[in-house]
């Protein structure tokens, strides 16, 4: 029993920390813009594919070395930060003074554009014209092996791919009872991804509560008009928030890919939805709340499967959301704000 409990808790933590990193992106953007950025999960998916490409280009040896591992994370986070910036700059900023629904629909549009756009096969390949004896690069829709000399993949195509091994799965700890009928396994990547997640959360905490940018971000979140009057560059702060959230999502995405080893263009929607629920449970707009909500959701899902039936997992997880909202509409950690008339 105690072994089962430990194993289920390990499973729950692995899922919960990833939900937490994604949920933070939702909650930060909501904090500053009052916008639910539905494209957030898909930005995570893009990050996973960037990590995939980097790991692929490095090759198996280099990617599983310490520096390669760091490179996969850093490049994915930087590219996603840039993507977050572009999305904010070209899709949301022009709509900022429009009704909130417009931006929400745009967010859904971007989400679909990314997740379905990534299902297309698009490659640039070297084509040799035998009669003219020339070679030229041409766009085509034939899949090719990624990174091969004569063919470069632009979009990855619909099929699921196996994420390259950037950390070899090993048992880190194993406990079992005397006759070895029950056991608990803690794997090296579970420990590592937990540490990385905690590390990212600490960095975020320092950024938000210990720097000038963080102060500006909190001010914008409180009241962006007044913040602007006081000389805070609201556009820069909002762009920075998007970049930060997107980079976190990319980090979460890579951890997710290490955990479940499979990447496909629709993964962002699924993880994004769970993380969104986690953010709402914790009280959207509240950073600690998002983390707590995510861990609770991970735990809740795991316990349902342990004690009940696996068919009930999503139903109970979302039921939990409804119950929390019934009793605390502002979320577990949110603060109730009276609507001023």
């Amino acid at each position: 029993m105690i072994y089962d409990l430990a194993q289920h808790l390990i499973n729950a933590m692995a899922a919960g920390t990833i939900y937490a990193l994604v949920a933070l992106g939702y909650t930060m953007v909501y904090g500053v813009l009052k916008l639910i950025n539905f494209a957030h999960g898909d930005v995570m998916m893009v990050g996973v594919y960037v990590g995939y490409t980097v790991a692929f280009l490095l090759g198996r040896e280099a990617a599983s070395s310490f520096l390669g591992f760091i490179a996969v994370f850093l490049v994915a986070m930087l590219v996603c930060a840039a993507l977050g910036f572009l999305i904010e700059r070209f899709a949301y900023r022009p709509l900022r003074e429009k009704p909130r629904l417009t931006a929400l629909i745009t967010a859904i549009g971007i989400s679909f554009a990314l997740s379905y756009g990534f299902q297309l096969d698009a490659t640039v390949a070297k084509v040799r014209d035998e009669t003219a004896q020339t070679e030229s690069w041409q766009l085509s829709s034939t899949p090719c092996g990624m990174g091969s000399g004569d063919c470069v993949t632009l979009l990855p195509g619909a099929a699921a791919r196996r994420f390259p091994t950037i950390i070899e799965s090993k048992e880190w700890l194993k406990f079992s009872n005397a006759d070895e009928t029950s056991e608990v396994r803690l794997l090296n990547w579970q420990v590592l991804s937990f540490l990385i997640a905690i590390g990212l959360l600490v960095v975020l905490q320092v950024l938000v509560y210990g720097t000038k940018f963080g102060k500006a971000m909190r001010a914008v979140s409180h009241d962006h008009r007044t913040a602007a009057l006081l000389g805070i560059p609201v556009d820069t702060v909002i762009a920075g928030t998007f970049m930060l959230g997107s980079a976190l999502a990319a980090g979460a995405g890579i951890l997710y890919a290490i955990k479940d080893k499979q990447v496909q263009p629709l993964m962002g929607m699924y993880v994004g939805l769970k993380a969104f629920v986690a953010a709402v449970i914790g009280g959207i707009g509240n950073l600690q709340g998002a983390v707590a909500g995510a861990l609770l959701l991970g735990l809740c899902e795991e316990l349902v499967v342990w004690f009940g039936s696996s068919s009930w997992r999503d139903a109970v997880a979302f039921g939990f959301l409804i119950i929390v909202l019934l009793f605390r509409p502002e979320g577990l950690f949110g603060r109730a704000v009276a609507e001023k008339v």
């Binding site: 289920h8 554009a113 756009g117 034939t142 632009l154 791919r161 196996r162 080893k261 499979q262 997992r313």
Partner: protein, 397 residues
């Protein structure tokens, strides 16, 4: 810059209209990609007979849809080389349903009302075929599913056929093999509750295995799209089953196998034709080794009919056909033969001819359609060995 290019591409495609392609075989050779110059789309005119196909060219079952499409294209090419049907060439209009039932239904409607096709081929997944079948039945357009194994598909009406065996038989084959050949006593099941296919196999396996004196010690479930199965597998591990029946699709199965291995679950996995894709080995690696699956056909089958098909398929696509390609090929052949025999090219006339298909030499077994429009044919059991499916046994009805 590359990102904005990606975004722009993505936006154009996502908001553009449904992908519409005319079947044009793509060589898988990366060194010679096809250029973007597409041939003009065939119009439903007097000189071309148009068939329709609905398939999952994108989405979670994309590998199935693409194999099926290639198998069908090969059959159509062969028929055209042999002079076509009634002196006319054949063409296929293919719509992508993104592995979604609602898209499959609207694609079927479009094939019927807009393209006025003579026969509809598709889908692979039973859930999608079930969404399409009522449309075809209502419009009296014959529909042949190459590989939907759920019994309900052909129960929709007398215009709906298939060329593969049905779920009860597949569940029966694996239960019988596990009990009689592998001598298993305790088996657990992990089923995809969102898929009619997976549930169908589970029901029959459970019943037959128990009837034969075995015991199903636990049933856990997941939903298509899940990627974390650790909770269910932790539960199963506690039960210590000798075998684990996972009648799901390759994409989920690969992840399940890998996570089972990580959790230290020592059991033999068993499955159905949903495992059949080369992707299984790419995604699942060594974790799927030693598993058993029931399937429609094996490329190891020495019969000349099968070997000739494999040779032609390899010449065209540079890869060994899986059973989805074989069934796609058979479905198209059955349709073409019926069109040849039909007195006129109308839905009812073609339907009557398909219904009388008898002893048709398909590459995935000889096909005789019964009064329920299902074929009577045996299944093969394959074992995963060295990243390949190896033929081990044939189980008849």
């Amino acid at each position: 810059m590359r990102l904005s290019l990606l975004l722009a591409c993505a936006a154009v495609f996502a908001f553009g209209c449904e992908k519409k392609t005319v079947e044009q075989p793509k060589p898988n050779d990366v060194k010679q990609p096809v250029t973007d110059t597409k041939p003009p789309e065939p119009k439903p005119s007097d000189d071309v007979l148009l068939l329709g196909e609905v398939g999952s060219l994108t989405g979670s079952e994309a590998a199935f849809g693409i194999s099926t499409r290639d198998g069908i294209a090969l059959a159509i090419d062969e028929a055209n080389e042999a002079g076509g049907v009634k002196g006319k060439k054949l063409a296929v209009r293919v719509y992508d349903d993104q592995s979604k039932p609602e898209e499959a239904a609207s694609a079927a409607t479009r094939l019927i009302t807009q393209d006025k096709v003579l026969v509809i081929l598709g889908e692979v997944a039973s859930t999608n075929s079930l969404a399409m079948a009522p449309k075809a039945q209502e419009a009296k357009v014959p529909m042949i599913s190459p590989s939907s194994t759920n019994p309900k598909v052909t129960e929709v009406g007398d215009y709906i056929f298939r060329v593969c065996f049905i779920d009860p038989f597949q569940g029966y084959v694996m239960a019988k093999y596990a009990r009689e050949e592998l001598k298993y006593k305790d088996v657990a099941i992990l089923t995809d509750k969102k898929s009619a296919y997976s549930e169908g196999l589970t029901d029959v396996f459970k019943r037959v295995f128990a009837e034969m004196g075995g015991k199903v010690v636990g049933i856990e479930s997941y939903a298509k799209g899940d990627t974390d199965f650790r909770a269910q597998l932790t539960n199963i591990k506690k039960l210590k089953p000798q075998g684990l029946y996972v009648p799901g699709y390759y994409q989920d199965v690969a992840v399940i196998a890998e996570q089972a291995k990580e959790l230290g679950l020592k059991t033999t996995m068993m499955g159905g034709d949903g495992w059949d894709s080369a992707k299984l080995f790419e995604l699942g690696g060594s974790a799927v080794e030693g598993s058993f699956v029931s399937n429609h056909y094996s490329a190891d089958d020495p019969s000349p009919r099968v070997q000739e098909f494999i040779k032609k398929y390899q010449a065209k696509y540079k890869t060994t056909p899986d059973s989805l390609a074989a069934l796609g090929y058979d479905a198209a052949k059955v349709a073409i033969e019926a069109m040849k025999r039909a007195s006129e090219l109308s839905g009812p006339a073609i339907r009557d001819q398909i219904a009388t298909t008898k002893d048709f030499p398909g590459v995935a077994g000889t096909i005789t359609l019964d009064e329920k429009r299902n074929p009577v044919k045996p299944a093969v059991v394959l074992k995963v060995e060295g990243g390949k499916f190896k033929y081990v046994s044939t189980v008849a009805q």
